[in-house]
């Protein structure tokens, strides 16, 4: 793998994605939602000394957890499926298949970053002007977590597209992945934990956090924006389980990296053995 071959592919992918009207539409929608949340969330700031951080944090988090996986999956599936002319051109070049995938992934990630940075930028400016921002020191960390979340779902979409190869199937799988990770998984874990005894239920819940990148981002986001006490006794138990605040954040980020790298490696393998 050569960076000198990956980068031009990434740059090409970024340009294509930005010129694609869906990226602009997503940027506008995401931007206006973040603007609305940060503006209305902190509108009453200062009245009796409150700042509206809870409402803003919770709404931003929900927005990211629902929207970013969905958009990343759609954008990624769309791009990683065979596009007649483009593919013929790319695959006939003296670059490896893995380099093509890596370049496209990097380009798409750059496009997602570009699209979400508009919203996060505007939101941050609104919060900074309306409040004293004391409760929002974790905002940059939260933005980074959202980025990693989009990367995770881009690589999952890559896997979905390459494994299924057919358009309808790939989009179907992408939607199922979204539904599974965003809603179903947590409900299954919640239900399952009710069947277990207190102690093992705790371990079960903590361990199963790592089975879902959406959960990892949610927990890490709340940890960095509100601190562990937001989870009450469960938060204390989680931090103890993971060995402290720093270690907890570290473990969660490692979990996210595994969720990013694993689908990439599997896709590389699948594509290597595929007939094109």
């Amino acid at each position: 793998m050569e960076l000198s071959t990956i980068l031009p592919i990434a740059r090409q992918e970024l340009t294509v994605a930005i010129r694609n009207k869906w990226t602009t539409i997503f940027a506008l929608v995401f931007g206006s939602l973040v603007l609305a949340i940060s503006y209305f969330g902190t509108m009453t700031a200062g009245e009796i000394g409150f700042q509206g951080f809870n409402r803003t944090t919770a709404s931003l988090l929900s927005l990211v957890l629902y929207l970013i996986p969905l958009v990343a999956l759609m954008m990624g599936t769309q791009s990683f499926l065979r596009n007649e002319g483009e593919d013929e051109m790319l695959f006939s070049q003296p670059v490896s298949r893995s380099e093509i995938l890596a370049g496209k992934l990097l380009g798409l990630f750059a496009a997602m970053t570009t699209a979400t940075f508009i919203g996060f930028g505007i939101g941050g400016i609104v919060i900074a002007t309306q409040t004293d921002a004391e409760g929002f020191l974790g905002y940059p960390a939260f933005v980074m977590l959202s980025l990693i979340l989009s990367l995770v779902f881009l690589s999952l979409s890559m896997l979905a597209a390459i494994a299924s190869r057919r358009r309808t199937k790939a989009f179907g799988i992408a939607l199922l992945l979204w539904f599974f990770f965003v809603i179903l998984y947590d409900l299954l874990v919640l239900g399952g934990s009710l069947l277990l005894k207190e102690r093992s239920a705790n371990y079960f819940i903590f361990a199963s956090l790592f089975g879902n990148p959406v959960d990892i981002v949610r927990v890490a986001g709340l940890l960095s924006m509100k601190g562990g006490e937001v989870f009450g006794a469960a938060g204390a138990a989680l931090l103890k389980f993971l060995g402290g605040y720093g270690q907890a954040i570290g473990a969660l980020i490692v979990g996210l990296l595994v969720w990013t790298v694993a689908p990439i490696l599997v896709s590389f393998r699948l594509l290597r053995d595929q007939d094109i």
Partner: protein, 452 residues
């Protein structure tokens, strides 16, 4: 007969006034040390201390007034209490008091009061184990003092800022306490009044044990482990206090443990891990408080019975109520109306200001959380939100029995506010810089993408 008595009293007073002398202490004055002046003084005399540093511990064993001129410092020997008062009716004002001993059991304090009827005013205390310690000491006035504890010690190893033990009928006004163990620790002491004190950066702002009938008005508690921990006491009145930003695991705005008949009115409980915590506390009334921006507004154990919440505002809390146990016998409304809940989604057709539909105080997820604390890990998750949606669609899932049957449509107007802290504006600029940077990056990328 009465006028006869009165004239005798007047004569006495006149004689007393004639006899009372002013003794001056200072480098250029008759007395070089305060102790020398105390030895020479008669009860009722005034000792005036000029500015300077006096390296001595004071034992005040006769009724004296000691006042500083130009901010003199009494710097203790580092053993025992810097000033110990054993005579009644002393007045100590306008001094700086520093360097007490370090023995918690020995009650080493900046000022140790063992007598009654004293006035302690405008004292600045630093580097002391306890700040002002009232030991079997009643009818005192402790006003406008500033207490700075020892930051080099862990909070558990420090003493209380204002420590009150077995002392009744005292008045504490306008004191500032920080970096101590507990801001105001009150044990077995009743009928004390605390007004306009400011307590921050320490363990418990207010810590209460077995002390009945105390009144707290307009105090401000912030950045502590807990705002107030009120335990084993009854008839405590809290009015117009603010409990702000008390965060951490097992942190509370106000904690009530085994209390009864307390009145909590017009307080502001803002940005705490848990706003109000009640365990085994009975018959208390929470009226016209604002509970806002807490992670959990209220945590109530089912062992708390017969408490009334009326006309409070619950705004922007991440969760309104964690109930430990199945039901509580809490009353969420009176004839005057219930409370204002910012997430109330009912309507008010008869426009009497009271919602026509009962407000379920917590949803099914929050209800489950009370008995399965681990579920809180799923706070703010889409799964929790879908559970709530399911509860609305299929009412058969109803879990909680806590309802406000007369929810208010508009927040109750309460004047208690949190005075802004000295602005630490750095956060604002950091966030502004970060946001502008990423916005700029993004716009640059878009511009480049669209460029031919």
């Amino acid at each position: 007969m009465r006028s006869y008595c009165f004239s005798i009293l007047l004569i006495f007073l006149a004689a007393f006034a004639v006899q009372a002398e002013v003794l001056r202490v200072g480098a250029e004055e008759q007395f070089k040390t305060v102790n020398a002046a105390i030895r020479a003084a008669k009860p009722g005399d005034t000792i005036r201390v000029e500015s300077g540093i006096y390296n001595e511990n004071l034992l005040i064993d006769k009724s004296l007034t000691i006042e500083g001129v130009g901010g003199p410092t009494i710097k203790g020997t580092g053993k025992g209490s810097v000033i110990e008062i054993t005579a009644d009716n002393c007045t100590i004002t306008r001094l700086k008091v520093e360097t007490s001993g370090g023995d918690l059991v020995g009650e080493d304090a900046g000022i140790l009061l063992r007598s009654n009827g004293n006035t302690i005013e405008d004292i600045e205390l630093r580097d002391i184990l306890f700040g002002i310690y009232l030991f079997n000491s009643s009818d005192n006035k402790v006003n406008r003092n500033q207490i700075f504890g020892r930051t080099e010690l862990e909070s558990g190893a420090r003493g209380g800022g204002i420590h009150v033990w077995n002392s009744q009928n005292n008045l504490f006004e306008d004191n500032v306490v920080t970096e101590a163990r507990d801001g105001m620790y009150i044990q077995t002491s009743s009928n004390n009044i605390f007004r306009r004190n400011r307590v921050f950066n320490l363990r418990y702002g207010l810590h209460f044990m077995n002390s009945d009938d105390n009144l707290f008005e307009d105090n401000v508690f912030y950045d502590n482990i807990a705002g107030a921990a009120i335990m084993y006491s009854k008839n405590i009145v809290l009015k117009r206090n603010t409990f702000v930003h008390n965060r951490g695991f097992s942190s509370f705005g106000i904690l009530f443990q085994d209390c009864r008949e307390c009145t909590i009115e017009e307080n502001l409980v803002l940005d705490n891990a848990v706003g109000l915590f009640l365990e085994a506390s009975l018959n208390s009334v929470f009226c016209r408080n604002t509970v806002a921006e807490n992670d959990v507004a209220m945590e109530i154990f089912a062992s708390s019975e017969n408490n009334l919440f009326e006309q409070n505002n619950f705004i922007n809390n991440m969760s309104p109520l964690t109930l430990i146990g199945k039901t509580s016998s809490t009353k969420w409304a009176s004839d005057a109306g219930g409370n204002y809940w910012d997430d109330y989604d009912g309507y008010d057709l008869d426009t009497d200001g009271i919602g026509d539909v009962s407000h379920p105080i917590h949803n099914i997820f929050e209800y489950l959380e009370g008995n399965f604390p681990r579920m809180r890990i799923y706070l703010n998750s889409p799964a929790a939100q879908s559970l709530v949606a399911a509860e609305k669609a299929f009412p058969i899932l109803k879990g909680s029995n806590e309802f406000d049957r007369r929810p208010l449509m508009r927040p109750v107007k309460i004047d208690t506010t949190f005075p802004p802290r000295e602005s630490r504006g750095a956060a604002k600029w950091l966030l502004l810089a970060f946001s502008s940077a990423i916005l700029g990056l993004s716009l640059a990328a878009f511009k480049r993408g669209f460029a031919r």
